[in-house]
Structures are given as structure tokens and as C-alpha cells.
Symmetry: C2
Subunit: 252 residues, 2 copies
């Protein structure tokens, strides 16, 4: 409708540039209220629990009223994602490697707190103010290196993608268990079931894997969280090693 500086409406909403509208009936609702209510529901019921009727009801309005403020459910999801991400913490570190490590762990902490964030479909490249702030943090960490822009973005996306992927996978598996079974127990059962199904002639390596002790009892006093942390770090350090190679290579 309006065109303050040729910025489209969804972006204006993302960046909080909505003018309060000087004519007609004043709104008792605004984007931020709607988004906050939606986030609260997602925190409680997951992403599928977020429906327009439920969000509206939690605010004492009808479903259709929301469309005055968000345009579509997909847009609501985008707004929720940026709001729920929040600003990045301070990750000041002595070197790029420690900085990126902290960045990854900080992002992971946010996603673990709100696993539904990892399932919001990306409607476009990162565009929200919080997303940009996280981006800034990662770029700042790498600003001392000799990497070019493409590699900086590549490294950042790789890490960020890894974090998303690993948290989503972990939370999907945790949901799949659902009963009181812990990760360690589930892995043991998994290993045993597949040891019976996997034919050593067709799948020699996999058979060796499933008859190895890898899935059997971890010392049992190891909490699930520690296993998950170790798995996560293993992949992350691998990525950081790769980035290190690249940095060393661009420094003659």
C-alpha cells in the first residue's frame, strides 16, 4: 500500500516500521502482540500447535482478526522465527575458532530451548533484525581472517546449518521415543534390532557396525545430554578444522 522507501510490507513488519495508522478505528492489537502470543503457543505446543484460531483465542479475538496484522500464516511464522531467535549474546573471543565455537553453541542453546525454530520453513534469505544481528556476530569473529566474502558466508551457513540440522534431528528422535525411554536405551535397542535385520553378506560394513559395541551400554552413568554434547562437538570440530585449513591456505 504505502511506500515509505520502497520497502515491502512484510519487511516493514519484520523491522518494526509499522506506522500506527492515523485514520479510522485505532487498533487494539498489533503485530508484536500477535507474534508474542504465537511464540508462547509454539513454546508450549510445538509448531503444529500454532494455528490462527488458537492464537486469536489466546488473545480474546477471532481468527480472522489476525489477518489485519500478518497477511498470512507463513508470514506469521517468519515473524515468529525472528522474534524467538532474539539477539545474539556476547561471544567475544581471542581467536576466530573459539569465537565461531561460541557462536555455534549459543545458537544451539537457543534452538534447544525452542526446537520448533528448526522447523520453520525458510521463506527467504535471513532478513529479520535478529537474524542479521547473529550474522553480524559471526562476520565480526571472522573479520580478522583473510577469507573472502564467499568463504565467510559459506563457513557461517555451514555451521548454522549444522546446528539446525543436529538440533532438529535430536528433537525429532526424542519425540519419536515419547515414552520414558532415554537416548542410551533407544540406541541399544536400535543396535540390537538392526543387528538381526542386516545381512552381513549384503552389508558387511554395516553388519560389523551393528555387531560392534558402539550402541551397547555407555557407562550408564553418562547422562543423555553428555552424549548429545559429544556428538555435536565432534561434528563441529570437524567443520572448524575444515575452516582452519581454508584460512591457512589463504594466508601465504
Amino acid at each position: 500500500m504505502t511506500s515509505d522507501d520502497f520497502v515491502p510490507a512484510p519487511l516493514r513488519r519484520l523491522w518494526g516500521m509499522s506506522e500506527p495508522a492515523r485514520l479510522g478505528r485505532p487498533a487494539s492489537l498489533d503485530v508484536n502482540v500477535v507474534v508474542a502470543a504465537a511464540v508462547k503457543i509454539a513454546d508450549r505446543d510445538g509448531l503444529d500447535g500454532v494455528t490462527l484460531p488458537k492464537v486469536a483465542k489466546s488473545l480474546g479475538f477471532t481468527s480472522m482478526s489476525l489477518y489485519r496484522h500478518v497477511g498470512s500464516k507463513d508470514e506469521l511464522l517468519t515473524l515468529m522465527a525472528d522474534a524467538a531467535l532474539g539477539p545474539p549474546p556476547d561471544i567475544a573471543a581471542p581467536d576466530w575458532r573459539e569465537g565461531l565455537r561460541r557462536w555455534a553453541f549459543a545458537q544451539r542453546a537457543v534452538f534447544q530451548r525452542r526446537p520448533w525454530l528448526t522447523r520453520v520453513p525458510a521463506a527467504g534469505p535471513p532478513s529479520g533484525p535478529h537474524q542479521i544481528a547473529w550474522m553480524e556476530a559471526a562476520l565480526a569473529v571472522m573479520s580478522g581472517t583473510l577469507l573472502d566474502w564467499a568463504h565467510r558466508i559459506g563457513a557461517m551457513s555451514l555451521i548454522s546449518g549444522y546446528v539446525v540440522q543436529s538440533v532438529r534431528q535430536y528433537s525429532e528422535l526424542a519425540e519419536g521415543r515419547a515414552d520414558g525411554q532415554g537416548q542410551a536405551d533407544a540406541e541399544r535397542d536400535y543396535g540390537r534390532a538392526l543387528a538381526r535385520l542386516v545381512n552381513p553378506d549384503r552389508f558387511p560394513e554395516a553388519a560389523r557396525l551393528f555387531s560392534s559395541t558402539l550402541f551397547e551400554a555407555p557407562p550408564s552413568d553418562t547422562p543423555d545430554e553428555a552424549i548429545a554434547d559429544a556428538d555435536f562437538s565432534l561434528g563441529l570440530e570437524l567443520i572448524l578444522d575444515g575452516i582452519a585449513v581454508r584460512i591457512a591456505r589463504s594466508d601465504p
Copy 2:
């Protein structure tokens, strides 16, 4: 119900161990037919297009009839995922690095052909025969290295997660565009829009990025596919570098 070897029903269906049932009315439908129909619909309409009524209708049955064969929609998705993945191609290669690279590209090709595969929620660890076959292929490639099991699985998951993540991201963005706009054009618009929104005081690095020429015209004769391939390779080679470091380290 039955208990051939204490293998639960969903796994029996995955591995094609269904006994034809010797009593009662014989089935005119079976799991494979249902799954094949569902896959065909997913290929045409995406994952959200797969609904029990539609699958049933395409076979000339009613929705409820499917429950005789699949148990739940989630189970159907799991079955679809393994069926659609298909067996891995031959990726024989002179060394682990080339082998993993081919493995990654092969997986990417499958996912690009069926982007909905990247959105099937993981109901459990990889358990289907095709998933195991792909696993076998990756493990075989690494069998010459000195990595321990944990690192082999870690490397494999990292690559596989990267492939999934990057194809999903790419296809989500492509859907988001929807109009005839290509990737290059969209990136240019994105860069310009954000150059206006990003305040250089709050986000100095990001501002430099968006005012850099990175998002501006790639030579314009570069097809979208080539951009995507280059982005994908950049991340993949980074990961492979990381694995190389790890392999070198375990070889004294």
C-alpha cells in the same frame, strides 16, 4: 500381532517381510502399492500434497482402507522415505575423499529430484533397507581409513546432514520465489533491500557485506544451477578438509 523373530510390525513392513496372511479375504492392496502411489503424489504435489484420501482415491479405494496396510500416516512417510531414496549407485573411487564426494553428490541428486524427501521428519535412526544400503556405501568408502566407528558415523552424518540441509534450503527458497524470478535476480534484490535496512553503526560487517558486490550481477550468463553447485561444493570441500585432518591425525 505375529512375532516371527520379535521384529515389530513397522520394521517388518519396511523390510518387506509381510506374510500374505493365509486366512480371510485376500488383500487386493498391499503396502508397496500404497507406498508407490503416495510417492507418486509427493513427486507431483509435494509432501503436503500427500493425504490419505488422495492416495486412496488414486488407487480407487477409500481413505480408511489404507489403515489396514500402514498403521498411521507417519509410518507411511517413513515407508515412502525409504522407497523413494532407492538403492545407492556405484561410487567406487580410488580414495576415501573422492568416494565421499561421489556419495554426497549422489545423495544430493536423489534429493534434488524429490525435494520432499528432505522434509520427511525422522521418526527414528536410519532403519530402512535402502537407508542401510547408503550407509554401507559410505562406510565401505571409509573402511580403508584408520578412523574409529564414532568418527566414521560422525563424518557420514555430517555429510548427509549437510546435503539434506542444503537441498532443503535451496528448494524452500526456490518455492518462496515462485514467480519466474531466478536465483541471481532474487539475490540481487535481496542485497539491495538489506543494504537499505542494515544500519552500518549497529551492523558494520553486515553493512559492508550488503554494500559489497557479492550479491550484484554474476556475469548473468551463469545459470542458477552453476551457482548452486559452486555453493554446495564450497561447503562440502570444507567438510572433507576437516575429515582429512582427522584422518591424518589418527595415522601416526
